[in-house]
């Protein structure tokens, strides 16, 4: 199994590339937030909600591209008074980068290009269908978790 630190490392490099880059979120195309890194760890935003919107918005743009028959979506950028959001496809995931308004866009593109290549490879493995050869130990603990969750559901 891919360690958490590999995603953190790849996302951390994006955040470290420029002080105008504030936050970086990796989502899949079903709305799941896989990993995220922030420049200010204390920032208290609702990352799962942000990730769900990021994924949905990106997928909606992709759908729009398909409807208009204009090919694959490479990047979405949104400009706000006080910041920018960039989202780019990385295989089965979408990388989102949140920056200050005056960020160097060329640099962001470059950094995201590098990161999306890395993440694409990581995700390929991580999001793969449940491997049949998952260690017995891994699948036992997963079963235990599922059974515990079932018990919790009975309670409320």
């Amino acid at each position: 199994m891919i360690a958490l630190k590999e995603f953190d490392r790849a996302l951390g490099q994006v955040v470290k590339a420029d002080s105008a880059i504030k936050k970086c979120i990796l989502v899949d195309r079903t709305g799941l937030t896989i990993a995220h890194v922030s420049r200010y760890s204390a920032s208290s935003v609702d990352v799962d909600g942000i990730g769900a919107i990021a994924s949905a918005v990106f997928c909606a743009s992709e759908e729009q591209g398909r409807n208009l028959d204009i090919g694959d979506l490479l990047m979405v950028s949104s400009e706000f008074d006080e910041g920018k959001i960039f989202a780019a496809s990385c295989g089965r995931g979408v990388l989102c980068v949140i920056t200050d308004p005056e960020v160097n866009i060329g640099l962001v593109r470059l950094v995201m290009k590098k990161a999306t290549d890395d993440l694409k490879a990581l995700l390929q493995e991580f999001l793969a269908e449940k491997p049949i050869e998952a260690t017995a130990e891994e699948s036992t603990s997963e079963r235990a978790e599922l059974e515990a969750a079932l018990k919790e559901l009975e309670k409320f």
């Binding site: 199994m1 891919i2 958490l4 995603f7 953190d8 990796l26 899949d28 195309r29 079903t30 709305g31 799941l32 937030t33 896989i34 990993a35 609702d46 799962d48 909600g49 769900a52 919107i53 949905a56 997928c59 909606a60 759908e63 729009q64 409807n67 991580f126 999001l127 269908e129 449940k130 997963e142 079963r143 978790e145 599922l146 059974e147 515990a148 969750a149 079932l150 018990k151 919790e152 559901l153 309670k155 409320f156």
Partner: protein, 196 residues
């Protein structure tokens, strides 16, 4: 089988989607589970809606039943014109709660909404992807009978779980959620459907 949704902390996420015609009570039902059902650890409530409260894209709440198992619960936007948005939100769904509107005026809307869902999900709906039905707005004056709605939906002879709900009062809403989430976990554990 749907792809496993796992985050980098190793937590398993199951995606539950509330589907149904516009104004049927999807957002109200999820709101009730969010505000009033104890025993679930919930994250923030995210919604993309118009000023009148109708969903434009989706509502989303993550909830955890136990440490490493999470339910990512969504509602879709029921208005006809949001069809593309609904398709996006259905991606990766592990289970669906179909919220039908019992009002007689919604007869045709219920039928069309379920048909659209079947067209997107395919044969796995109600089998690999558990389906639970909520007959909402049981309190309205012109409510159709349970039998009539189920017949409209061609579900009169099926084993799909059905709950009668009044979302504005929270009646039946928790049970419907509980049953769906349970079915989804059981499917994951045993790959089979339980008897009801």
């Amino acid at each position: 089988m749907a792809k496993i949704r796992k985050d980098s902390e190793g937590r398993l996420h199951f995606k539950l989607v509330y589907w149904g015609p516009s104004l049927g009570g999807k957002t109200t039902s999820l709101r009730y589970v969010y505000d009033d059902v104890e025993g679930l650890d919930k994250g923030g409530f995210t919604s993309i809606e118009d000023p009148s409260g109708r969903t434009l894209f989706f509502d989303f709440v993550p909830m955890s039943a136990s440490g490493k198992i999470l339910f990512d619960v969504y509602t879709v936007a029921g208005q006809t014109r949001h069809k593309h948005q609904r398709k996006v939100i259905m991606r990766g769904a592990d289970g669906v709660l179909f919220v039908a509107d019992s009002s007689r005026s919604m007869k045709q809307d219920n039928i069309e909404s379920l048909q659209e869902l079947k067209d997107i999900v395919g044969d796995v709906l109600g089998d690999q992807i558990p389906l639970v039905i909520a007959l909402n707005k049981r309190d309205v004056d012109d409510a159709m009978s349970r039998e009539e709605i189920l017949k409209d939906l061609s579900l009169e002879n099926s084993s799909i779980p059905v709950y009668e709900t009044i979302a504005v009062k929270g009646i039946g809403v928790k049970r419907a959620f509980q049953t769906l989430s349970r079915e989804v976990l059981l499917k994951q554990l045993y790959g089979i459907k339980t008897a009801h």
